[in-house]
């Protein structure tokens, strides 16, 4: 894995070679390789789950690598903390902003290195002035005195960018910095990035927007499934080539959703609206259909599902199950009406992690199992056994604790729990996150079978192959709105990704597939 093209004469600022990192049984990164030259903007592309963010977090000192070479400015390094990485000249803009909501915007930028005046006291006037200078450079107007709480995602992202620029770093890593920005803001950011490049700094740019990659970067490295795929000069490649490398396999072969007979409409959502979160969400799902909610992290997909199920309230709109209105903000009514809800975070929200498998499976139907108000372990085991068998939960005994199982088996337990309620609609958020490849396809086969039996499934997924392989229909969510509705035949990695990033005017690739949106032109 070292077919890197000849770099410029200067020694590389960052060298990562065959870097690996596992979390428990899941290998997030198998052989990450990335070499960034000074005075270069280097694109790092790959699907969700390709290992880009893990790579970034190793560079940032959040995670420590298990194996591989890591050199910065020619020196081998091994960061234990983010402070060490920062001190060595690395600035990172994380995918999700990490701000202190109670503190002022200026303090968020300068925390820990505020300009000092007399008696080592913080010189607030200087701090505000420097913040304003940074914002001027970025071409935005944000009051540095206001608290960070309540800022839009775009403004939060801009503060992250200002923070990173002010660090005067030799290496600047940007993990999807543009996901929430408007066209004008992106242009400003790119101008700043180019001037940093011209100063001889090295930049790593992670993005799903190919036109941005081709506009800004000079070199591109592709990753797939935690492994390095290729590195080339941007001038020598095309979007199609890069996408082919990112996907690298026939999507349809991986997750076969067997076409099912579509029944009646079981779920109708109309004009659902929650202030500041999502707007005008309307769709319907038929029995036997799998509908995927696709989109970027933070687009509002999970929030929509939570609101329909009733965990959160919504401000306007209506939900109907088999034609009957469902009261809002009432999960109990939703369960009764036949909704099952498998949340994103199994350990936190889906499982009683310290409870037995049987107890977990039986937890939703325990009312039915109890005799005279008493619930026995035997009753739980009786009810749980057929489901555990059907889903092939690999376990020695039903009284084993859920905490000791693998992610795949935990997911099966959560599914078994809900299936025992005999639902008509299943919401499942990131069905295979943190699950190894083998078990993934088992989960997919199971979902396909369930749809075949007439269950309506709404699947939220950030993994494109999963979306494309499983869904009969794809609803793409962009900034709280459904920006595209694609049938199975029309859903391609490009069409979904463009709708998810809100891009319409694309020079590269095939723009005719697009159904949706364009960039925002103006912002506050």
């Amino acid at each position: 894995m070292s077919d890197l093209p000849a770099q410029s004469a200067a020694a590389p600022t960052l060298v990562l070679r065959d870097v690996a990192k596992s979390f428990g049984a899941v290998a997030a990164l198998k052989s990450g390789t990335l070499e960034v030259a000074p005075g270069s903007i280097h694109a790092l592309v790959g699907e969700n789950g390709a290992g880009k963010s893990t790579l970034v977090k190793i560079v940032a000192g959040v995670h420590r690598r298990d194996a591989g070479v890591f050199e910065l400015l020619g020196e081998p390094v091994d960061f234990h903390t983010t402070a060490e990485s920062k001190g060595a000249g690395v600035a990172v803009i994380y995918q999700e902003p990490t701000l202190f909501p109670d503190l002022s915007v200026a303090e968020n930028i300068f925390m820990g290195r505020q300009p000092l005046g007399r008696g080592r006291a913080i010189d607030r006037a200087a701090m505000y002035a420097e913040s304003e200078a940074l914002f001027t450079r970025l071409g935005v107007v944000i009051d540095p005195r206001r608290p960070a709480r309540g800022l839009s995602i775009a403004d939060q992202q801009i503060i992250e960018i200002a923070k990173a620029i002010s660090l005067d770093a030799a290496l600047l890593v940007m993990d999807e910095p543009t996901a929430a920005l408007s066209g004008v803001e992106v242009d400003r950011l790119f101008a700043v990035a180019r001037s940093l490049r011209d100063e001889g700094r090295a930049l790593v740019f992670i993005s799903h927007r190919f036109e941005e990659v081709f506009d800004l970067c000079d070199t591109v490295t592709v990753m797939r499934d935690g492994e390095y795929v290729s590195t080339e000069a941007i001038a020598d490649t095309t979007v199609d080539e890069i996408v082919a490398r990112m996907v690298g396999r026939e999507v349809a072969d991986l997750f076969p959703k067997v076409p099912a007979e579509l029944g009646d409409v079981v779920l109708e959502v109309e004009g659902l609206n929650r202030r500041g979160t999502f707007h005008d969400v309307s769709f319907s799902v038929r029995a036997g259909e799998i509908v995927a909610l696709a989109g970027l992290v933070g687009a509002g997909r999970s929030e929509i599902a939570r609101a329909i199920y009733g965990v959160d309230a919504y401000d306007a709109g209506s939900v109907r199950i088999a034609g009957r209105p469902l009261p809002k903000h009432n999960p109990k009514a939703a369960i009764k009406a036949g909704i099952a809800f498998v949340p994103e975070d199994r350990r936190q929200q889906g499982l009683v992690i310290d409870g037995s498998i049987a107890r977990n499976i039986a937890s939703v139907i325990r009312g039915k199992l109890a005799t005279a108000g008493l619930l026995t372990n035997a009753a739980e085991n009786r009810a749980a056994a057929p489901w555990a068998a059907r889903l092939e939960v690999k376990t020695n005994a039903l009284d084993m604790h859920a905490a000791t199982m693998s992610g795949g088996n935990q997911q099966k337990v959560v599914l078994a729990k809900w299936l025992s309620t005999e639902p008509t609609i299943l919401f499942i958020d990131e069905p295979t996150r943190g699950i190894d490849v083998g078990t993934k396809s088992e989960v997919h086969r199971l979902l396909s079978d369930l749809a075949g039996e007439g269950l309506a499934i709404v699947m939220i997924s950030s993994e494109l192959p999963e979306v494309l392989g499983m869904a009969d229909r794809v609803l793409v969510v962009h900034e709280g709105r459904i920006s595209a509705e694609l049938d199975r035949a029309d859903a391609t990695p490009e069409s979904v990704m463009r709708a998810a990033t809100g891009n319409a005017d694309v020079d590269h690739g095939n723009a005719s597939e697009l159904t949706a949106t364009s960039d925002r032109e103006v912002t506050a």
């Binding site: 983010t82 402070a83 001190g87 109670d102 820990g112 839009s152 707007h279 364009s518």
Partner: protein, 364 residues
């Protein structure tokens, strides 16, 4: 969750500094609590002139809150980091007893004794801090444990013994009643401590980092802030101030029995909460906590004067705490709604498409 700063998303530029400061002051929790304190004093004085105008009444009014102010200041530093220190009452009792023993057993000069008591308190605080920072167990549980342990050490050490006023050097006891320009010395010392800590939290990097840690601990780690060190230092400060409060206790009351400092930790937390320190960390000031402490202590002496029965006196204090928390919640909700609306209204798309985006929402 107090809101000290005007929050206008996308404001072009703020109002001028004077307006800003004035607006912030009017909205601030400190001013609101001070107003309540003033009302209580006025009501009690209207009932009985002595409450304020008698020289004894004036002195009590000023000196009584000084011990709780010290504890509330230390407590605030801890709460700001999203922790809590329930051991301060026991620490204060233990250091009060230590102060007495040092006078009886060693005859060291008073300044040395005070210094040793403060250091002892700091050491007890360091134990809390290390356990919280490295044990990864919530501070509530850790300091509940040390509350009993420190109290147990105190009881075992003292046995049936107690410190009496006759054991304490005259000069030190005089500190409890000494005044400068009618202001008690203990009050002056408490106010100096308050000023120093308040300035530190406001103006120094280390102080601001305490707020950052409490505001979002995960972000603080990502940011590379020395989280462990800062959390320990907050507990050390809290312990040291409890130690100082212990010496105050001896100077003020002369006697130290096994009940010294009992339940003071709850009063310290109550003072901070009433003064606008958010219990989940990240916001609030020691000024507010100090005024909250003064209000708590003053209300206890004012309510009997006003003629409110014993039972209702406690209920009033409870109502005050609930009112403070509910007020915080209401204000926070209102601001959140306002910000959500502002986001939805942000000007965005110009061209019209079936699903054109108009929002920057989508928070997770």
């Amino acid at each position: 969750m107090t809101t000290l700063t005007p929050a206008q998303p996308g404001a072009k530029s703020g109002p001028n500094p004077v307006q800003r400061a004035l607006g912030a002051a009017l909205r601030s929790r400190e001013v609101a609590v001070a107003a309540v304190l003033l009302l209580v004093i006025l009501a009690a004085t209207a009932k009985s002139q002595n409450f304020l105008f008698d020289s004894d009444g004036w002195r009590s009014l000023l000196v009584n809150p000084s011990i709780l102010i010290l504890l509330a200041v230390g407590q605030t530093a801890v709460i700001i980091t999203r922790s809590v220190d329930l051991s301060v009452g026991s620490t204060m009792g233990l250091t009060a007893y230590l102060t007495g023993r040092l006078f009886i057993d060693t005859g060291l000069p008073a300044p040395v004794v005070v210094l040793l008591a403060v250091l002892a308190g700091a050491a007890l605080g360091a134990v809390n801090g290390v356990l919280v920072a490295f044990g990864k167990v919530p501070a509530l549980v850790i300091t509940l444990g040390t509350l009993y342990i420190y109290r147990g050490i105190f009881l075992t050490w003292a046995g049936s013994d107690r410190i009496n006023a006759s054991d304490i050097p005259r000069g030190f006891q005089d500190l409890g009643t000494a005044q400068v320009l009618t202001i008690p010395v203990l009050t002056i010392v408490a106010l100096i401590v308050l000023g120093l800590v308040g300035y530190h939290l406001h103006a120094h990097r280390a102080g601001r980092e305490l707020y950052a840690i409490g505001s979002d601990p995960d972000a603080a780690v990502l940011y590379g802030l020395p989280v462990t060190r800062r959390v320990i230092s907050a507990f050390v400060l809290s312990g040291a101030l409890a130690g100082l409060a212990g010496t105050f206790y001896v100077a003020r009351y002369g006697t130290v029995s096994s009940g010294a400092g009992l339940n003071m930790e709850l009063q310290a937390v109550a003072a901070a909460v009433i003064g606008g320190v958010a219990i989940f960390g990240g916001s609030g000031t020691v000024w507010g906590a100090a005024i909250g402490a003064a209000l708590l202590v003053t209300i206890n002496s004012a309510l009997p004067v006003i003629g409110i029965q014993d039972f209702w006196q406690r209920a009033v204090v409870g109502a005050l705490i609930l009112a403070a928390v509910v007020l915080d919640r209401v204000l926070a909700n209102r601001q959140e709604r306002k910000l959500a609306d502002a986001r939805d209204l942000e000007p965005s798309v110009t061209e019209i498409e079936p699903h054109a985006t108009t929002s920057t929402g989508g928070t997770r």
